[in-house]
């Protein structure tokens, strides 16, 4: 296996998978909460929340990366607190790459989940309430099973987006081989050196394969769950 990829290339692929996995997993509960709030609740500042969530989708990724550096960098407002109180450093670490990837993927995740939640008939939740289920139980026994296809689709979409995230990542955590050099950063780095194109091409093939696999998997899982839920 190792003979067709150099250790550096392997590290980039493995790091990308790890970054995307954690970015998706950690943002999942937040995504669900925000999607639910946007779909169901009316509160002051809802348009603002909606805007902030979608901002990374529209802003140049380099701007998002720069903002992350300002906020979560060692001298940043949040970064300083994390460093001094918890000893957590994000800038120029793989955890920072996961943060950047998670934030860039967040809007996609929230959109998929929000659509799923909006498709759930609130009258079913009312019915569950009259049968004795409190709000959290209604969510666990009725809402969540019904939105599961959307949650899975959102998670897989977020994973694929995290795998491909480049601009914000390279701005926030740079491009350190073995540390913060994800798949796209590695491809970029290989293209910068003469004769690096064959290496870049191999990674490009891997990137395409992973992205395709993620899409097919998400389709398949969502369809299986939808079949189970609709009772067909």
């Amino acid at each position: 296996m190792t003979d067709w990829l150099t250790p550096d290339e392997w590290r980039a692929v493995a790091l990308s998978l790890r970054v995307s996995f954690w970015a998706t997993l950690v943002s999942l509960p937040f995504g669900l909460l925000v999607a639910y709030a946007l779909a169901r609740w009316n509160f002051w500042g809802k348009p603002l929340l909606n805007g902030v969530v979608h901002l990374p989708l529209i802003l140049p990724p380099v701007v998002t990366g720069y903002l992350l550096l300002i906020i979560f960098g060692r001298r940043g407002a949040v970064g300083q607190v994390l460093d001094e109180w918890f000893g957590v450093v994000l800038a120029f670490r793989w955890t920072g790459a996961a943060l950047a990837a998670g934030i860039m993927a967040f809007p996609l995740m929230v959109r998929a989940m929000r659509l799923a939640i909006e498709a759930v008939d609130p009258r079913l939740e009312q019915a569950a309430g009259t049968l004795g289920a409190s709000r959290p139980w209604v969510f666990a026994t009725v809402t969540l099973p019904l939105i599961l296809p959307g949650v899975i689709a959102g998670a897989i979409l977020a994973f694929a987006k995290a795998m491909g995230e480049f601009g914000a990542t390279i701005t926030f955590v740079s491009n350190i081989p073995g540390q913060t050099q994800t798949l796209p950063s590695a491809i970029y780095a290989f293209l910068q050196v003469p004769g690096g194109e064959p290496q870049a091409a191999r990674l490009v093939a891997i990137a395409i394969a992973i992205a395709m696999a993620a899409l097919l998997l998400s389709e398949w899982v969502a369809r299986a769950v939808a079949r189970r839920i609709s009772g067909q």
Binding site: D121, R123, L124, Q126, A127, A128, G129, T130, L131, G132, A133, S134, R135, W137, V138, T141, V142, P145, L146, R228, I229, S230, G231, Q232
Partner: protein, 367 residues
């Protein structure tokens, strides 16, 4: 079990202001669409919060805006059968039925312990248990929804036009199950309907609603045979509800009944001899004669007394007749009232064709 309801709420262009008491049995909230019936039961369920109001079921206060008390729906223990079933699509019929069981409080204060098997048998849904809601017919779904509500062990059952979305055949399929529920479980039911036929079959008490107000309340037999209320129900639907005892099943396919005002023969009624049934006799099916008619094909000729005559705005009149203990309504023309010289206290004969009492107008009598 008595349910006390007092509500006040202002909507745009509509206000609700009413108070009534629902005794045990089936209380039908009857009125046109838009009269506020569903709003009332939503308030009882806790799905709608009125500006002002107090709702108490026996000693338990569910809502008291004056005292700032409002129990959330899941703590009210009130079963709700919606017009559109609302079964959970991701669960099987069995899981749907048992949904409320996860949350129903266990303990001595819980009402009549009703087991899954009994309800399944009562509603005839045993063959459906492992199926998903998507594969059920409308009538089957509604029966499952009724079972699901009962199995959550409620103190009272709300039904919001549970038959409205079904065709006539499906209604006829479900009505006997509702009668069995009423007679065998003793669970108080608040039943919203705008169908006189359903109310006549099921209700023990009728609450008549118009534009957010209660305009009449009383025992079903009294309200349904009140000529003053007939225009609200629709004159074609006007008619009396009487109880009758099955005396004999006769060889030519007729059933002989005793109404208290003489024998009545109707097309075969599936009930044991000695059983009591409810008949709804439409006013437009009753003819009046001052002498006992002879040489007439109608089988049922009852000797009755005119109680009062209610003249409407058109050419028609509703005549209320005392037939022993029971009351019968007859819809005739004013011209006939004059020609026959009908007036209160006058003995007359009411003529009813056996075949004019439709099958869906014969039901089980309540307890």
């Amino acid at each position: 079990m008595t349910l006390r309801i007092a509500l006040k709420h202002r909507f745009e262009g509509f206000s609700l202001d009413l108070a009534f008491e629902a005794p045990a049995g089936v209380t039908a909230l009857f009125g046109r669409s838009g009269s506020g019936k569903t709003t009332v039961i939503n308030a009882v369920a806790g799905l709608f919060r009125p500006d002002e109001g107090r709702i108490a079921a026996d000693g338990v206060v569910l809502l008291d805006t004056g005292a700032g008390r409002c129990l959330p729906p899941h703590r009210r223990r009130i079963g709700y059968v919606f017009q559109d079933a609302r079964l959970f699509p991701h669960l099987t019929v069995r899981q749907n039925l048992l949904f409320g069981r996860w949350f129903a409080p266990a303990g001595p204060d819980v009402g009549p312990g009703v087991g899954l098997e009994r309800i399944v048998a009562l509603l005839g849904i045993a063959p459906l248990l492992d199926r998903r809601p998507a594969t059920l017919s409308g009538g089957e779904r509604q029966r499952v929804a009724i079972g699901r509500a009962i199995l959550s062990n409620p103190r009272l059952l709300l039904m919001d036009e549970p038959l409205a979305a079904l065709d006539e055949a499906r209604k006829g399929e479900i009505l006997p199950y509702l009668e069995r529920l009423r007679d065998e479980l003793g669970l108080p039911i608040l039943y919203v309907s705008h169908s006189v036929a359903e109310v006549a079959r099921l209700a023990t008490t009728v609450v008549l609603m118009e534009a957010g107000r209660v305009t009449a309340i009383g025992p079903a037999s009294t309200i349904l045979s009140d000529p003053a209320i007939a225009p609200v129900m629709g004159l074609r639907e006007a008619g009396a509800m009487i109880s009758a005892r099955v005396v004999a099943q006769e060889a030519d396919g007729l059933t002989r009944l005793d109404t208290g005002a003489g024998p009545v023969w109707l097309p075969r009624i599936e009930a044991a001899e000695g059983a009591t049934v409810r008949l709804r006799i439409l006013a437009q099916d009753v003819m009046l004669a001052t002498r006992r008619p002879e040489g007439i094909s109608a089988l049922n000729i009852l000797s009755v007394t005119v109680r009062d005559i209610h003249l409407g705005e058109g050419p028609g009149a509703l005549v209320r007749l005392s037939a022993g203990e029971a009351t019968i309504l007859a819809r005739v023309t004013r011209r006939s009232v004059d020609a026959l010289d009908l007036r209160a206290g006058r003995p007359v004969f009411a003529v009813l064709k056996a075949v004019s009492v439709a099958r869906e107008n014969v039901g089980r009598a309540g307890p």
